[in-house]
Symmetry: C2
Subunit: 427 residues, 2 copies
Amino acid sequence: MARKNAFYAQSGGVTAVINASACGVLETARQHPDRIAKVYAGRNGIIGALTEDLIDTSVESEAAIAALKHTPGAAFKSCRYKLGSFHENRAQYERLIEVLRAHDIGFFLYNGGGDSQDTTHKVSQISAELGEPIVCVGIPKTVDNDLPITDCSPGFGSAAKYLATSLREAAFDLAAMSRTSTQVLVLEVMGRHAGWTTAACALAAEQEGDAPHVLLMPEVAFNEDRFLAKVTDAYKRYGNCVVAVSEGVKTPDGQFLSAGSKDAFGHAQLGGVAPLIASLISAKLGLKCHRAVPDYLQRSARHIASKTDVEQAYAVGRAAVEFAIAGRSAVMPAIRRISDAPYRWDIVEAPLSKVANQEKLLPPDFISPDGFGITEAARRYLAPLIIGECYPPFKDGLPNYVKLQNAAVPEKLASTFTVQALTTAGG
Amino acid sequence: MARKNAFYAQSGGVTAVINASACGVLETARQHPDRIAKVYAGRNGIIGALTEDLIDTSVESEAAIAALKHTPGAAFKSCRYKLGSFHENRAQYERLIEVLRAHDIGFFLYNGGGDSQDTTHKVSQISAELGEPIVCVGIPKTVDNDLPITDCSPGFGSAAKYLATSLREAAFDLAAMSRTSTQVLVLEVMGRHAGWTTAACALAAEQEGDAPHVLLMPEVAFNEDRFLAKVTDAYKRYGNCVVAVSEGVKTPDGQFLSAGSKDAFGHAQLGGVAPLIASLISAKLGLKCHRAVPDYLQRSARHIASKTDVEQAYAVGRAAVEFAIAGRSAVMPAIRRISDAPYRWDIVEAPLSKVANQEKLLPPDFISPDGFGITEAARRYLAPLIIGECYPPFKDGLPNYVKLQNAAVPEKLASTFTVQALTTAGG
């Protein structure tokens, strides 16, 4: 079979381990020089392909590529950019194919969440329609853990480990202070419409009474009275209360709870659900609250990454290249769970048609009857995903992360292309 | 000399390593059974002494005591409670001495910040006035690093390491997203009136252009125009901008910048400076902002503690006991820096009269001329304090922290004592 170049890009919100997938892609591609000439990375995800802004990864040393395995962020930069439907955005897709062909790219590897899998699926279909099929493989990634078919999404296990660790630590702090100071701590957790990351906070608890005492997940409509009663009960029992709240928690009519939140300038405040919940508790229960909003810290905390997650992130990157050179297109490597304890897993092939544009929420049997906690089934699912430490090397007291050269590939096309007004959609 | 019991208590906001000081106290006391019979800990700091709510540490195993060295929070619980002046609060002091005498306590060891050193100093003076001197030794602790005389305060180095690590990681995330999404990240940092923790964020930067790009410290009055110009400049140069802001940053007239901040219920919102700064940047510069507020996470993150800090925290606990059995009263073990590189330090004796009620702010020569960064002198001071990793043991993917039995010492006094209305003052 012909030797071709490969395109690889990172998309959507980044994670502590998406670069471990990049490492898996690049190291595996280098093991197949007969099939893959060079890997060109898109600078800023798919935008790099559209604007012919490609990065030549072949100039990077083996040591630099290996260091990606312990470096957070996205080495080639990511984007929030959705290509949209072929029907309405034909020019974009044609431009994309034109760039890929100009650089002799036969393999298209796209590392992202649900929207990115949809893009990969479309590129697969359209390249075939346009007469020169490109092998397209999606690579899963999202701290939200909302991709279907795959048992979990790389990035989630590390965010889960960070959150459960941080919550346990902060709960020790709160317990020390609650006699004379703060009585309630509210921790705001990412995850968009899915409660996986908030559910993972529950792993911090080892026994009855341990924090977190209350979870607020998007899958359960917020009920103020029941919530305040739950906080009151926890505070009375344990002397303090830790609440983990999903940024995406919703009112019974499906609106984001934080939608009405205004900042000091009267603008709608996004991601402001923890201050809102803390204010509610202070005002209605008279308890002193602190709120913690780790925001990007939770998805970039490579220093406390899950070893399991790092291994899975690497494995899906490696498998994507193996699928590609086997000619498997419109597929995504998915993690299959073989057993909970001991935790065993392997990689299987998932068709992108079944992955794209689906959102896997917490199943009802993972949520406790009162809606404020998780079940044993959820705990069995979550527990193995945070196992193992995988510390980065440290230098001068801080993690020693790599920055690649990111040398540009010379342009081949005379034409230029301006991406449409950039949106914040796409994951 | 007579064999006496010792009292030990933890006070003020807790840290990732105050229990390492407790470990130093307890392990050292156990090495001197001829001088120290038992160590009784105050439950909830000094409140435990006032209410005769003492904990018998002698029932704890050696393994449990050793595990304190890697456990955050305060094992015996802390308090925010200030005894006040002897003149106005004579009954409290007399009660305190009564309890200490009833339990044959000859050594008073109090682990906290500036207010706690003041308390320790007063107890020393008053016990002498009341005719039976108790040897009183303060033990330094505060993430704010604002204690005088000691080169640094145990707790600070670990908060600094957590903040610089987290900021570096989040900056990798931001750099990956800024082309199409978030352009500015605002990280809110604790530290009250002192900018030490915010200054430590600057350690994340290795070279020109690295985050953080702007620091807002309480020592420099906030100037909106100059700040926005600085953010604009950084964004233009680097494509994104990371701001670290002290919770205690002030307006030119000395008010907290966040003082006017209201929550959704119209109440004053404390610690809300990051949302305020993020809103300002969005409104005035049109840049998309995220804000991270780690709150308690930054002072309890034992998983990323500084080895140097852990060792110093242990050393001041050990030295406190050594000072006490040497009969040194009204003193505090202080860390003395011998050299920057290689970093060498030892423990010296500081008189509490010079420590109490003083606040060490960032010196002017540590702040860069424009007020938004630190100097090389500051970097030389800060750099060694975050050196070394000192991971706790992990179990099931999470740090394995100890909870002591905290068995109560039987009461000896018929009288009870109710502490005055609890305040949030005191550190």
